[in-house]
Subunit: 507 residues, 4 copies
């Protein structure tokens, strides 16, 4: 990696750091020469660049003092030392959602860092290994170089009813294929990897609970994105090719977009010093669960994206001259109510963080799941309401080329006029932004990724079920119903965990 | 129009009837030479063609005996003579939704025919005009030639707070600009006209309640689609250009699509014999309300489209090997419950039809509005659930060209395998269909058109409010609460209208 | 039974027919002497009486010509001969809901009559038994005497995971305990039997699918309500004792109420001529499913009750001077939208009725389940909205005795005044009606019975699942996705059943 | 007041402190002699007593160090000094909801204390009055005596479209009727006053925004509950008289209940030192808005009550032998998801507290409103689901007297048996608890009070609207849509308030 020894400071530095890498990226069946200048890819790079610029413009929000470097580092690379640190992740995420209107792709890396930090600590505690030490060194290096980390977790999975070692094709989950004294070689594929091409390093991690027979799948390690043996195949998004048509209107949000690609690993090497788990299969579930705990509440970013969509809906209502109708106002209130629910449940999860044995703080798992579960529904409803306010024209607008055409442009300008003092182009631009966020390119991030990222809805329900403490609640009911009255005293002692979560008066 | 004297029988006849017309259609700033062969337009033509083929394969469903020609005619051209006729419109609509998975574009014309039939009858009754007679002749001619009628109602509207005659630009609503002894000339524009290019004739109608000062806007007439003075500007849809990439996978539903365009009328002539309202402004609201009454319940078609999406969701669950999970099954049940609610409320509205003075039957307006109001929400939820079942891969799939590429195609085939006995391509095809219906081209029809077509949600709420008979219901409550006990007798007589609707024991 | 030979004509005749019966009814641990004059029971009798009065005042709605007596009989005793007959059941049900604001208790009997009619026909067809003939004779007798039939289906069930013959106590499902040449004796208990005391006869039926080992449980027969061996224990309802306080305000709906009791059968005799199934265990599921098909759509009555509650909510808004606020109006619209959805789905289910082999018509099962499934939710939301409009005072009102007290009555009159021209008492009466319907006595019928009557929510979901024709829908999706294209032709033949339901062009 | 000089320590002390007061309380038209021993009132007293016992058993949770007394005081009497203090209010509230399953009535006083603390500070700042000083003295006295404070805000309001001074009857809002050198006299009535009889002092406050003409209504002061001139009329609750039947089953929750009464003030005297606002009408809205800000988020208590109901639902599922069905488990998950949403949004509102000028912390108003707005819906849905799990028997159970009857008790014991190893009585007790919480006495607090307490749903929507910062959000959208690009810089400065709320990095 050419950027290894150069510290990145601005968004522009970051963009430059992505040039001239030897990546094997396919799109539409072709090898891409330079992702930085590719019009379909660049918006996703711009979104990541914004995370660097924000660190400069709002350092309280987007940076923190690292205990490893003792300097101010980008918050995306920081290990949360306090509950405030965890809360500030959420505030930064909402802000970046507001600024980009899309997925800025760095949360996976941040959440992988934090969950791996405490997991390696606990593996070492059990097995006297030195993963945690090595991982801290890796973190400090990434912080100093100010690099972007992608977290490669989601395997392609094949037949969902079979464990990794039971699959007909062993490669359907990433696993070790060869060992040398220097390290290990891994093969497999990771699906829909957010921002993988825009990262400098990938943290490869298992994606599910593993058993002893899956030992060779229990591998965690860091690899540079341009490591030998990696092939990337770029994912299509709704309306993706509009960015290749020229113009900046039909694309809706010309500057920013998300990115997902399939990462295919063909005997990729991980040196010993970058291996952070190797065979301790029983820790796979701890890693996955801690990662999802952080990551589910990271979807607070969608409240920032929601702010943009609420703003767009309010703007089109104004441009249509309809903003004073009571039902319009009521729909904006409903959108806000839903959007703030996402934010509030995330903030509460973060605020109720607890210290792990490693010292790193981790959110309340119940509330993190409640937050994400709302995210699988509320953006869809906010989006539906935005389409309601937009009017049918949002899906029947003629093309940008027609608007700019000498032959028919003036007709469209005349007939698509809304409120007299608003230029027709403004109206069209807002409508295209709403299309972009509700059906187009950024709907991928705002809706479908909200559904499936960090686990599909059922995954949250399972996690909520695990923590709903029915025995405690049954006892509350029985006591009040006059059953088992003598158990009341016992109760208070037995529920200390519950107290811990709900009433963390002191840590 | 070249097809004037040729009866169209099959879908193929219909497609041929669209060739060689002198239409001025713009798309991407260019004049289109032949819409029939244009890859972005052809799927919408195919969808209309299906309405002809169904008339041949299922004549009980898709045709009826016309009282004007005394022959079997396409049901889309038929004036409903009984409540069964109205119900059968819905059954035909659901079936066509199932067959095309999209909007087949002929309901506007059918609903315009039926609403104008009874409205002209009532204008004539009041003013001794001869609109109804002329309109029947027009209907009979269309039935004999078996042509497609588009209904051009939605004006572009400009400032929504001003009446037509108050607009700064008088053309923001279609109006008469000139009169001769042969007829009138009209100017203005109609927005998002469903299937306009695929029609042979357009019925131009006013879009809102008019006052005396809007008299020149109270014009209804028929014009051939290739009349002099018409310019069409084609509307963009999400992912529309995928049909121009070659291939039939990424497009999702390669055969069928919807169509909406803006129709700009520049002094277009309507001869006297094709004028069906001219200045009787107080009948504009009757026409609009009757049209929306038919049309709101016509959205039962979406239950047919929903059948396809439910089928796609069930298929992907099977391909993923997940179809036996209880939560998966439960989501399919929920989708079905919602989808059948659309169907049932539409059927009930149609079944509760009443004869108008003209003899044509018209649906129950309350239930028609209830039906449409569900259509503004339920497809969105069905769609959300379909994305839930699909998994995140629905928005991160690489392109068809990558799948077919010699370099990486085999990698995708290997790594995107679900259940062992299902070809990877099948899985991809179903995912692309789900993308198409939930975010792509047919999401325009399944979602946003469901929201706004036949009136946006608030329009239904207003109509429900008008008919909710609060005085009757207040009296029911007061009687039971012991207030005004002596009013009970009076009540029964006063609510005859209500009885009419709810208890139409005999017509 | 003293009324056996006397035809009942008016509601008053009916009430008199209930006097002087030898019933063993317990309430608050006491044997009740005369149910007719018991203040807690009388309102439920009044509700049934209304079904007689309606037959006189609106015979088109509430009676029909019986093919067995060839005279006009109460519709609750009529076997549906056409789809219009089935639809008219719903219209009568809504009307009675409007008039009583509660459960009028006769639908179970009507639905039992109809389902048993076709089931006995099919048993006879298989086994050459003569149940159908005997049952027709019974029907004719009931029609001539104009009696009330209760349908006793729901067993107490014990351990839900065990079949009847597996229960520790064999009596947890009703079964035959003894046989003589004259008939059989049965023992067991039926829980929450709607209107049982207000009936003249009970039709005892099994409650679940049975196997060969449950043969002695496969018994259907008619017994008079005052048969030897029956004990009734009256069910409590929320706020039930208010009717014993004197006064007619706090009770909310002084005139009408529902009734449910537990019926305990201790070796009750059924003579041979009144046995309509005996051992044909495999027909138990047919009977249950047909019964629930009719009965689920019978819950359309709740739209009539909903009319009352909507009226009450509109009245209190008016009395509070708040009826013009846009959010108030919008909530009334929402209540109406939900309420009409119940009605419309029921009507559609009834309209799509099909003839059974016996000639009796039965509703569309999918839509009947969709209807009932909405009934398990929508009344709760309508009720919540009614409480919203009522204001908190609905649950903090002082008692009727305080209002009428000489000491503090004037203070309440002064301080609980709303709009100046509305007597305070009117305001209080409407509030008490809302309390009655949302938390009080009639909330039992409007809410909880809506949830569980005719099967709890999950029962509908199971039935929807059985009929959702996923294979047909999968094929629709596959065809459009370009998979298995050559199957399209086959499809049309295979789905005849589906066509039957959706497109019943001809019977 | 007899308890003035005696410090209350235990719940029992508290109960004794309520004895022998000279209160004029009417119930069922009669003057009540001793509220403490009245079976309908005692449960509400027990609920308040629990707040004293909790302070002893869990002092970290339910007490705090007062800056005024420098001793540990009950948290309900504490002025929040930090955001943690505000959060701990919520945790205490949830805990008390769990322990009592009802409304424990002390939040109004706590929230009145806190809002009046900062409001008096700001009045003094403007007018150099000494309200704040006097109020601090009053607080300190209450803390030392450990008394219960009720907050009397809600006037009866009369015609909602008129201001206080415009009402036909001036008493429809509480106002000053006379002034002396010692103080003022007030007249009027406060509706549905939670826990008023169980308080020692009432803080009388205005209920709406006032204008100069309403000056005599701008009065805030403290009065002992047994002051001369006060008449209390007790509010009825659903099923209230069950507690007078003897027995402890049918009542559902025998120990705890809520309390609301109408408080009628007839020239009640307030001495100067207990007047905390007098004529500063423009501060009425500040007081009301701050009070509702605290109080809306105080409804987190309902998540504690929800815990009980979830526990009851899980218990009945177990007793029915149905707890393993996937749909049962899924409903418990849904109930939990909703319940935790209430908790999380409340916690987030509290955590985002800000210091007022007085130093007291106040919650985030947007999130407090989001929390309460969920409370107006979610308990209703949780309650509906609890009834779903309970089965219909929850509303058809025979009476406790029947269960205990020698004649029929054994029959009920036999036939209402669920799972073999669970005593029938346990099953009945849990069902009665569910009835109590969903329709009975505690449904008043769990449902209707959740709807209207601290402001009806529309009040929250108005408050959300005020704070939804549409201009900021519009700008976000315009920037991304390519409109007004040069405004981005300006933006960051203009939204400092927004940053304040969302990103309160440092106070």
């Amino acid at each position: 990696m050419n950027s290894n020894n150069m510290e990145i400071i601005t968004g522009n530095d970051y963009i430059n750091s992505l040039r001239n890498r030897q990546l094997k990226v396919y799109l539409f069946g072709e090898l891409i020469d330079d992702i930085v200048e590719h019009p379909m890819i660049r918006p996703s790079i711009n979104a990541v660049a914004e995370t660097f610029d924000l660190a400069n413009s709002e350092p309280e929000l987007a940076t923190a003092i690292s205990p490893f470097t003792e300097t101010r580092v980008n918050r995306f690379l920081h290990i949360a030392q306090t509950k405030e640190d965890v809360v500030l992740q959420n505030k930064m995420q909402r802000r970046l959602g507001q600024l980009t209107g899309t997925c800025f792709q760095r949360c996976v890396g941040m959440d992988a860092f934090n969950s791996l930090f405490s997991t390696t600590f606990e593996i070492d505690k059990k097995y006297a290994t030195d993963y945690h030490h090595k991982f801290k060194a890796f973190i400090a290096k990434m912080q100093r170089q100010n690099l972007v980390i992608g977290g490669a977790m989601t395997d392609v999975k094949g037949d969902r009813s079979l464990a990794p070692h039971q699959q007909a094709d062993p490669d359907l989950f990433v696993h070790i294929t060869k060992r040398t004294s220097e390290g290990v070689y891994i093969t497999g594929a990771k699906a829909h990897q957010t921002g993988c091409l825009n990262s400098h390093w990938l943290l490869v991690m298992p994606t599910i609970r593993l058993t002893e027979q899956d030992k060779e799948y229990a591998i965690v390690g860091a690899i540079p994105v341009d490591a030998e043996g990696i092939t990337y195949i770029y994912g299509r998004q709704s309306c993706d090719t509009r960015s290749m048509e020229g113009g900046d209107i039909d694309v809706g949000n010309a500057q920013y977009g998300g990115q997902e690609a399939m990462v295919i690993l063909d005997n990729v090497f991980i040196p010993n010093e970058l291996i952070f788990m190797d065979g301790e299969f029983e820790f796979a579930s701890m890693l996955v669960e801690r990662f999802t705990c952080y990551h589910r509440r990271s979807y607070v970013c969608k409240s920032g994206v929601g702010d943009v969509l609420i703003g767009a809906a309010a703007t089109i209502a104004e441009y249509n001259g309809a903003e004073k109708a009571s039902h319009i106002k009521d729909k904006l209130i409903e959108m806000t109510h839903l959007n703030e629910t996402i934010y509030a449940t995330g903030i509460a999860a973060s605020y109720q963080s607890k210290a792990t044995l490693s010292g790193a703080f981790i959110p309340d798992d119940m509330l993190a799941n409640v937050c994400k579960h709302h995210v699988t529904k509320m953006p869809y409803e906010i989006s539906r309401l935005a389409q309601d306010l937009a009017g049918g024209i949002v899906v029947t607008l003629p093309s940008e080329k027609d608007f700019k055409s000498e032959t028919v442009g003036h007709l469209l300008d005349k007939y698509l006029k809304g409120k007299a003092d608003v230029p027709t182009e403004y109206r069209i631009r807002i409508l295209r932004l709403i299309e972009n966020m509700t059906m187009g390119r950024n709907a991928v991030g705002y809706l479908t990724e909200s559904m499936h990222g960090a686990g599909s809805p059922q995954a949250q329900r399972i996690q909520i079920a695990r923590q709903m403490q029915l025995d405690f609640k049954k006892q509350l009911a029985k006591t009040l119903a006059g059953i088992d009255k003598n158990q009341k005293k016992v109760l208070v002692n037995e529920i200390s965990d519950y107290f811990g979560r709900v009433f963390d008066v002191k840590v």
